[in-house]
Symmetry: C2
């Protein structure tokens, strides 16, 4: 098994200026594994759901090569639930309700096959849980960690500790500023790289993404979309496409990281076109290739220095 992803599998209620979706399947690990499935025939997921979680979605994930032996189902309990509302600009959202439910009992124990995975994606979760998973891994080649301001506010020490142990950190621009205490994104990036990760990916939503190493920087735009219907899960979809592309190629050079960023950006652009994971279930590898070509064209220029 190339990749194991740890993260939430959940129900979401989503309201945007363009409509509403109630009790749709969401969660970081769901988006990540669906995105990665375009690059990997087999991967594992470590999470927990209640008995309310639909068997049809489990079957769908399974049909896409997502192994569910790491997905615990707690009988008599309810799945993690999040409800949020986006404002007109789609860059800000309010959390209306969070019911942790089964998430309080997530205590991952990985089987032998999972422990031996070469790639580990630590989706946004309590850093203590992320660390517990990391402790169990044996000889992982590459670890990507995603997190949020929530953990910087409530568990900075644990977060800082787990960050020292990962290869790549993915956060958004305001989180990069919060984590580093630096306002300049360039200075923030270097402060964070000094904490341990070899690469930092700064996700800027509709404004694209930046990839930093100590020596280099790369920028990928977001594709300008006719309509952004629902940005929920776009960051996780990006991360899933990113690590899926890396895992498939096995190449961890900066140049290949750049390609992985483009692959992740292409997948994230689809994610925003419909509510929840719907669009990710419709698209084909050809759709993704077509969109990657649009990225190539979007930033392509040649300039003579006159």
């Amino acid at each position: 098994m190339k990749l194991v992803t740890v993260g939430t599998v959940a129900f979401d209620n989503i309201e945007t200026p363009f409509g509403k979706a109630e009790k749709v399947v969401g969660g970081a690990a769901t988006y990540i594994s669906l995105a990665a499935s375009f690059f990997l025939k087999k991967q594992g997921i470590v999470s927990v759901v209640g008995e309310d979680f639909p068997h049809s979605m489990m079957a769908t994930l399974n049909s896409k090569g997502v192994d569910l032996t790491g997905l615990e189902v707690l009988q008599g309990k309810e799945s993690f639930f999040w409800s949020g509302k986006y404002h007109y600009d789609m860059n800000t959202r309010d959390t209306l309700e969070t019911r942790l439910n089964v998430l309080l009992e997530l205590d991952p124990k990985l089987n032998t096959e999972y422990k031996a995975a070469e790639y580990l994606m630590l989706g946004n979760l309590d850093p203590k849980v992320q660390a517990k998973v990391l402790d169990q891994m044996e000889g992982t080649a590459l670890v990507v960690l995603d997190t949020m301001n929530f953990w910087m506010d409530s568990a900075m020490e644990e977060l800082r500790s787990v960050i020292t142990r990962v290869d790549i950190l993915t956060i958004n621009d305001s989180e990069a500023r919060q984590l580093s205490g630096e306002h300049s994104l360039v200075k923030a990036a270097h402060a964070i790289l000094d904490m341990g990760p070899k690469y930092l990916v700064v996700k800027k939503g509709e404004h694209g993404a930046l990839l930093f190493s100590k020596e280099r920087v790369f920028f990928a735009p977001a594709l300008p979309l006719d309509d952004v219907i629902d940005p929920t899960g776009a960051g996780d979809t990006f991360a899933g496409g990113f690590i899926g592309y890396l895992a498939r190629s096995g190449d961890h050079s900066f140049n290949n990281m750049k390609r992985a960023i483009i692959a992740g950006s292409a997948l994230a652009s689809f994610c925003c076109e419909k509510f929840g994971v719907q669009r990710l279930l419709e698209i084909t590898k050809e759709d993704i290739d077509h969109r990657i070509r649009q990225f190539v064209e979007l930033v392509d220029f040649d300039i003579e220095l006159v």
Copy 2:
């Protein structure tokens, strides 16, 4: 004379989280013509100042090939004055004070040489004044118009009228949404292109710039800077570099517009590094070329579709 620029020449008081600058020379036409001077040996400026405007700055502009026969000096009057304060994120600013002073009397009358200019840059000003200048031009090859939400709020009809007569419009993303009434930037761009301009440039500050034609779109990032000290004039500097590059090359193809966007972005990145026009007075053509190479590297990737 290749290029004529109409716009403000002013004094600014600027406060940012990194310091203050008092009564420094600013104004759209100042930034535009300084930026364009890196690409053009001779250009004209149409504006008005009071007798308080420093002769030293006039001499500086003149030494950079900016002809000042179109810059009216009103004796016994004071120059246009703007005072503003930037917040920590540098993307928002409050105008603390605006004293129009001589600007109330700006009533441009172009001489024969100016009327025959091939390129016209209509800097942010009352659209009635922009129209009055356009009326006087004879056989202009390309007109670029920059404007702001202020005119959309106060003179939308006049603005809509002058927009129908220009080749390229440069505005920011929220202004594109306001002008078109469309939230999606892609839909906003197409609605605006339907109003008349052949190209639309959407300036997104630290998030880069988008160039739209009816058929194509191009994205240029902003260069991630170690420190943004003062963003005042960055949009005007961008516009000046853009039209200067176009005027020098004489090539109005989409591919050359892309190069002009990169040239403008490179100049704008310098503008932010010090207060006012200071940095634009220090840099050389070699500095600009070096920065353009950084842009090439920033977005360069090759991807195989796996």
